[in-house]
């Protein structure tokens, strides 16, 4: 490069406007990175597995936040002890003439909240 070429080269050139890059590449650097992140391709299998875990986590989280869906009702257990009888003591289809022999005990139990 001779002196004349060097002198020509030293003259400052016109430059594109500052908006040019945004015009071409659409947005600012920050947002384009966000869009790039959205464009990451995930295998369908991984996506399905993620959706499954997300669903389960959501279900458990909602239960944890809201508490039990319905309050458990008290359950009564009746146990016949020493009841020797030919007929079913819980058969109430016909009136019973006699009381069941043996001892009848009852207990109630409230199940723990889920």
């Amino acid at each position: 490069m001779d002196d004349f070429e060097a002198q020509l080269k030293s003259v400052p050139l016109a430059r594109p406007s500052d908006e040019m890059k945004k015009r071409i590449f659409g947005t600012g650097a920050g947002r384009s990175k966000f869009i790039e992140a959205l464009r990451v391709r995930i295998p369908v299998g991984w996506a399905a597995l993620f959706a499954l875990f997300a669903g389960l986590a959501g279900m458990y989280l909602s239960q944890w936040l809201k508490g039990p869906v319905a309050a458990p009702s008290k359950v009564v257990y009746v146990q016949i002890i020493k009841a020797r009888s030919d007929r079913n003591p819980f058969d109430f289809t016909e009136p019973a003439a006699d009381f069941m022999p043996g001892e009848l005990t009852g207990r109630t139990e409230t199940p723990k909240e889920i």
Binding site: Q7, A14, R15, P16, S17, M20, K21, R39
Partner: protein, 160 residues
């Protein structure tokens, strides 16, 4: 194609001003040169595979887009006084420098289109003769000849 977009952005960052200068050397109008660059990059985004020499491809695409811009607008070149040079508003700039810039612009505009574009591409866009030859689809000898002949004409015009 994320790679293509990333590579194109890198090329813009490295060679954007040079590409703009190339486009401006064809259109003579900064607005049309920017339109040409925009069009060239949009064409690039539609590529289905990355060209082997993306830099050369983009320079060629910008030049073609600049020629298309002129055709579409049916405009004849109406070069500004400063041509490709920055229009300096600096009051501290020496009158001698200002004068040299104006004379260089005038001398460039008196050259043939091939000579002018070759000088701009080699001297200001930092393209090698081989790259210009690939870009213009001419032999390297022809490019070197246009360049030398253009420089001699400029020297004569500027009385250097």
């Amino acid at each position: 194609m994320r790679r293509l977009r990333r590579d194109m952005e890198r090329i813009y960052d490295e060679y954007g001003p040079q590409m703009f200068t190339c486009a401006l050397s064809v259109t003579g109008c900064p607005g049309l040169a920017e339109d040409a660059m925009h069009e060239a990059f949009c064409r690039g985004f539609r590529l289905t595979e990355v060209p082997r020499n993306l830099k050369a491809y983009m320079f060629r695409s910008v030049r073609n887009a600049a020629i298309d811009q002129l055709r579409q607008r049916k405009r004849t070149r109406n070069f500004s006084e400063d041509y490709i040079f920055a229009c300096s508003e600096d009051p501290g700039e020496l009158a001698e420098q200002k004068q040299f810039r104006r004379r260089a612009a005038e001398a460039l505009l008196k050259l043939s289109r091939n000579e002018r574009e070759t000088i701009v591409q080699h001297l200001y866009a930092d393209l090698t003769f081989q790259e210009i030859a690939d870009l213009r689809e001419r032999s390297i000898g022809t490019i070197a000849s246009w360049y030398r002949r253009g420089l001699i004409k400029m020297k004569d015009n500027m009385e250097v």
